[in-house]
């Protein structure tokens, strides 16, 4: 049987090790996406809506963070969480929690930037109407986030995709411990170096499938969301 055939068999037979790795990957990345979104969506919307001190600086910083190499993020979080680091007493280095933190930091600027981009034009369109109704700041934030929901969800999916595909940071702060912090990407890197291509390829197939699925959903959301956009 070819390597591809063996990999496919691992996927089809729902191999326990494989399922465990995929499950942990999804749990870590989904949690990171949720945490990053809870912070990035309101902040991205606020940056789009209001002028306030240090706004431009915040925009520059958040945009720069998008280009931050994952290994650098991993290193910084490693230093913070290591025994001698300021957060070392929490003892979360080499745990899924550390991986969630690293992925959250990586996703945050992406979700923030995409939210801001989505809400900027909407705020221009809605401003007069919301001003006329004296809409409160909180209500304005909620209204604009809701009405930009399709673009915001697309941003979330892009962030989730980035988290799931990330390897540099999670391998540093997670340690790639079998059955504990080993996720799809780190397993692929490790198993490939060991020559165990079946498992690496099986995970590659799953990762690729998830990427295709995410893009299909993004495409569908874009197409569905366009029905709500005024084009005239």
């Amino acid at each position: 049987m070819t390597i591809l055939g063996q990999a496919a068999e691992l996927v089809v037979s729902a191999d326990a090790e494989l399922i465990g790795i995929v499950g942990l990957s999804l749990r870590v990345s989904l949690t990171a996406t949720l945490i990053a979104s809870l912070l990035a969506i309101p902040l991205g919307a606020a940056l789009a809506i209001w002028q306030f001190p240090f706004r431009q600086i915040l925009i520059v910083i958040s945009t720069s963070l998008m280009a931050l190499p994952p290994v650098v993020v991993g290193l910084i979080i490693y230093l913070l969480l290591s025994r001698v680091g300021p957060l070392g007493h929490y003892g979360i280095l080499f745990t899924p929690t550390a991986m969630i933190i690293a992925q959250s930091v990586l996703i945050f600027p992406i979700v923030l930037a995409l939210t801001r981009e989505a809400i900027l034009p909407l705020n221009r369109d809605y401003k007069n109407l919301l001003d006329a109704w004296d809409v409160s700041p909180v209500q304005r934030l909620k209204t604009l986030i809701w009405d930009a929901r399709f673009a915001v969800v697309t941003g979330l999916l892009a962030g989730f995709g980035r988290a799931l595909a990330e390897v540099g940071a999670v391998i540093i702060v997670g340690g790639n411990i079998a059955g504990f912090t080993r996720v799809m990407t780190t397993t692929i890197a490790l198993e490939t170096s060991k020559g165990n291509l079946q498992l690496a390829l099986a995970l590659g197939i799953i990762l690729l499938s998830i990427a295709v699925l995410i893009n299909a959903v993004i495409h569908w959301i874009g197409s569905f969301g366009s029905k709500y956009q005024v084009t005239r």
Binding site: L122, D125, Y126, N128, L129, D131, A132, W133, D134, V135, S136, Q139, T143, D147, A148, G225, K227, Y228, Q229, V230, T231, R232
Partner: protein, 230 residues
């Protein structure tokens, strides 16, 4: 009817005076048309009367209270209808929702008034220009304002759409509401208006009964405007 009073109202942007020393009072129920050539300041005056914009100088009051403090008692409809990215129904429900209210009866009544009941569940973005403008008017009326301000509501609309919008305005006025409408459509102003405010280059040149204005305007600028020369 709420009494409107403008006192020495001026408005400037970056040193350019767009409205200059406008003063008038108006206490009558009915429809006031704001007329004037492009760039005269009609939309700006309407926004100041509503209270959505505060004047640089002077005051706008309704029953003695500054306009921006009471703007929720007035509805504003913009020239290009602002369509929320929601269904038609959700657009109508929005003004109630932001005030913590919900009324199926009011939503149903506004859908019927605007002839949009069959389209209630459609994304509002799918509406035609006329339908979107009717939705915007219904959305402004759902909170039961005392005054409705309309900024060229029928520009670029076909006669049938204009007729439906005028019917909505007529029903509002019949129930005791008052309307300020800016328009370039002189025929529409003649059909609807009880009072005319004529402005040119940021100055209020005439404030008079509509019949008097159309029969014999007092200023050469207004005469030129009616003749199509301004």
């Amino acid at each position: 009817m709420s009494g409107l009073k403008l006192t020495n109202l001026s408005y400037s942007v970056d040193g350019t005076e767009l409205l200059h020393d406008i003063s008038f009072t108006q206490a009558s129920v009915g429809i006031s048309a704001i007329l004037g050539p492009n760039g005269a300041g009609k939309s700006l005056l309407l926004s100041l009367i509503h209270g959505v914009i505060k004047p640089n100088m002077g005051r706008v009051t309704w029953d003695g209270i500054l306009a921006d403090k009471t703007k929720l008692s007035r509805g504003f409809v913009f020239q290009t209808p602002i369509v929320l990215r929601r269904s038609v129904r959700a657009n109508l429900a929005y003004p109630l929702k932001i005030n913590g209210q919900h009324s199926e009866t009011a939503i149903k009544a506004m859908l019927e008034l605007s002839h949009l009941t069959p389209l209630a569940k459609q994304p509002a973005a799918s509406l035609s220009g006329g339908e979107a403008q009717r939705m915007a008017i219904a959305r402004a009326l759902i909170t039961k304002p005392e005054v409705l301000l309309l900024d060229e509501p029928c520009s670029n609309l076909d006669p049938a759409s204009t007729k439906l919008i005028e019917a909505m305005i007529g029903q509002f006025v019949a129930k005791g509401g008052s309307v300020f409408i800016s328009t370039h459509d002189l025929a529409q102003a003649k059909r609807l208006a009880d009072t005319v405010l004529f402005i040119n280059a940021g100055q209020l040149l005439e404030h008079t009964a509509a019949r008097d204005f159309f029969d014999g305007p007092e200023t050469p600028q207004a005469q030129a405007y009616l003749n199509g020369d301004l």
